[in-house]
Subunit: 221 residues, 2 copies
DNA sequence: TGAAATTTTTAGAGTACTCTAAAAATTTAT
DNA sequence: ATAAATTTTTAGAGTACTCTAAAAATTTCA
């Protein structure tokens, strides 16, 4: 069985290659795991016999199907636990990442089967990220960033790009959550911020940064 | 923070001293953790600066109040997770030990507060063992072993002495669980087995070993 | 009390990680 | 095309555990 450290390396490689569309390089893995590049090289060399990824010196690394399978199951476990923490225990969406990061390493297939069923086979986690099914398939959402909407276009919030605590708390502050309705009132050229109407009630100005990190499903009029 | 290994050592020492009423010796700790006595000595030496226990060479070890506090919280976490696994996820009582053994090491005070509340502040785990409260106090049960009952005495099952899988499955086989009613019909001198009436319906003969490991709360007539 | 049995510790080494500093390879920019 | 900047690897060492074999201390018992 893979150690917790090994699991974290595989997950980091998966996330980096998913974002980059290419091999994950040493520095990126080190940054992702808050470790040194030297440690990463060392670990990659030791792990390379285990068939989770292809590694060529100076070329970076990409996962094999075995590695992808492992990463996907970890993401499944992480997101199911997040649903549990929010839906059942009453945590808010900005509090669950670190706890799920621990829970995802608990090893029991039966546990995940039962947890999934207990939660009603959820398709999305509390941040709107898709939960892969037992076979590793993600349900993809039809989404765009708030930033990409034109004036007067409407939609509802279906996710956030990064689920870092400060951003989630910023959204809490404006009472923006999954399902919140958004309509673009105007785009402000100067700094690319946007004036929006929230839940048909409140007018807000959101920064460019915030708008690029909010995923919206457009309402077809 | 304590490592998982450290936590397991402290818990083992707690369980051994609780049973023995004396210091935990090296061999006992090694047996409990499936490791070698040499490793235990080494670990005790390294840990002894951390104030969890008193250690004297060749004399064994006993916990300080700091160590007892830690062990108690681990037992609390373990047993709360067992309740979750049985009551919410539908595991049976013989399946939950190993999973709870992993879950108990997840580090989050808020998680345990919320879990406890979600479960309705249970006082006993699925094997009838008391769950210490947040302050570490155990609710003690008024219990005797089935073996100690006299002919015709009655009671209900409130716990098991060891919760090893084979014993629990033996009980499953006879449909004996927490709350099952028991009446002693006769004691068989030859091998100290007992003939009992289960739930006012079924007559069974239970071995001496089984009878000594079943905890009963007597029904006062 | 002293020999035998048992328990515990020490010695020495191995694995799975971690690190910093320096060297090597690659990429970028002129 | 070569120098500079960047990335990656190597070298060497440290920590937190693990082990087996042997030595030392303690306990048991005749």
């Amino acid at each position: 069985m893979a150690s917790e450290t090994e699991e974290n390396y595989i997950k980091a490689i998966f996330k980096i290659t998913e974002k980059n569309q290419g091999a994950a390089n040493t520095n990126a893995i080190a940054a992702h795991l808050s470790t040194s590049p030297a440690s990463v090289t060392d670990m990659l060399k030791r792990l390379s016999s285990k068939d989770y990824f292809h590694y060529e010196k100076y070329k970076g690394v990409y996962l094999t199907s075995k590695g992808i399978e492992m990463a996907t199951q970890l993401i499944r476990k992480h997101r199911l636990w997040e649903v549990f923490l929010v839906d059942k225990l009453g945590f808010s969406w900005d509090q669950v990442h670190d706890i799920a990061e621990q829970l995802e390493h608990v090893d029991s297939d039966e546990l995940i089967i039962k947890l999934d069923s207990y939660l009603g086979h959820p398709k999305y986690d509390p941040h709107g990220d898709p939960i892969p099914n037992a076979e590793g398939k993600f349900t993809l959402r039809n989404q765009v960033t708030l930033q990409s909407l034109e004036k007067n276009e409407k939609g509802t919030v279906v996710g956030v790009r990064e689920n870092d605590t400060p951003f989630l708390q910023y959204l809490n502050h404006f009472n923006i959550k999954l399902g919140t309705k958004m309509q673009v009132l105007s785009q402000i050229d100067y700094d690319h911020s946007m004036k929006v109407l929230v839940d048909d009630a409140v007018e807000l100005v959101l920064s460019h940064k915030a708008c690029s990190n909010l995923f919206i499903k457009k309402t077809t009029l």
